[in-house]
Symmetry: C2
Subunit: 117 residues, 2 copies
DNA sequence: TAAGTGTACTATCAGTGGTGGTACACTTAG
DNA sequence: CTAAGTGTACCACCACTGATAGTACACTTA
């Protein structure tokens, strides 16, 4: 379910955050489903528990999971997250589209590439 | 022409590289036009010459500029760069598009956003 | 009670971005 | 030829960040 790409330049904790965000938003992980414990996931990935802790803290800060002390971390049920996430993606895409249009690509060409995707 | 955004999390030298790449690709800087000297630009931006040097070295590595020792750095005339850069952008855009489609956005909606841009 | 959970520390290390400074080879204007 | 301006190559140093290692404590539950 979770893996680390050491060729990826992004920090490990960030990769884990991204991975869980997409798992949750795509519905692979259902609301109130439990995430692996900090220590377990650390063991499984052969990394330090503190790194997992950092990732989980970030996921909680962003509202993707909630924490029950002594029990574990669970997927949040907030559906507004999908909409928020969509907007994040759209903003990024539009910024890039503006750039590529400025150096001479046509809208039509770009739209065509999306259509055939 | 060049400025630094200290709120930007990217390193300074990288910001300078990006800035010059777009200036060159948009034609704001013409082939064989001279760039500011390492020391001048460093003074102007109040940063260290080594940082500028790093940015210029990267620009040369990517083929955007060429260097004449003792004279300065100049904009390259290679037109194939535009095409290469376009592809870089398109790859990034398509990766993001795939993500946003996976979490439930429709192609039509996305295309519409580009059309009204 | 014991095991498993999150959480909060502290110390330490490695890599990277950036600064500050020196030095050298080259080109060109005077 | 000389001096000024150019790129280039170092070195030492510092700050920040990501990550590790270890300890400790409070909570929940079988």
């Amino acid at each position: 379910m979770i893996f680390i790409d050491y060729k990826d330049t992004r920090p490990i904790y960030e990769q884990i955050v991204e991975r869980y965000k997409t798992l949750i938003l795509k519905g692979v992980m259902q609301p109130d489903e439990q995430l692996p414990s900090v220590r377990n996931l650390a063991m499984e990935l052969s990394i330090n528990p503190n790194t997992i802790q950092k990732a989980y803290a970030e996921l909680e800060r962003q509202g993707f999971i909630y924490v029950v002390k002594g029990r574990g971390n669970f997927v949040s049920g907030d559906s507004g997250l999908v909409e928020k996430r969509k907007n994040e993606y759209v903003d990024q895409i539009m910024a890039l589209v503006r750039e590529v249009l400025e150096i001479g690509m046509s809208k039509a060409e770009l739209i065509r590439l999306i259509e055939v995707l």
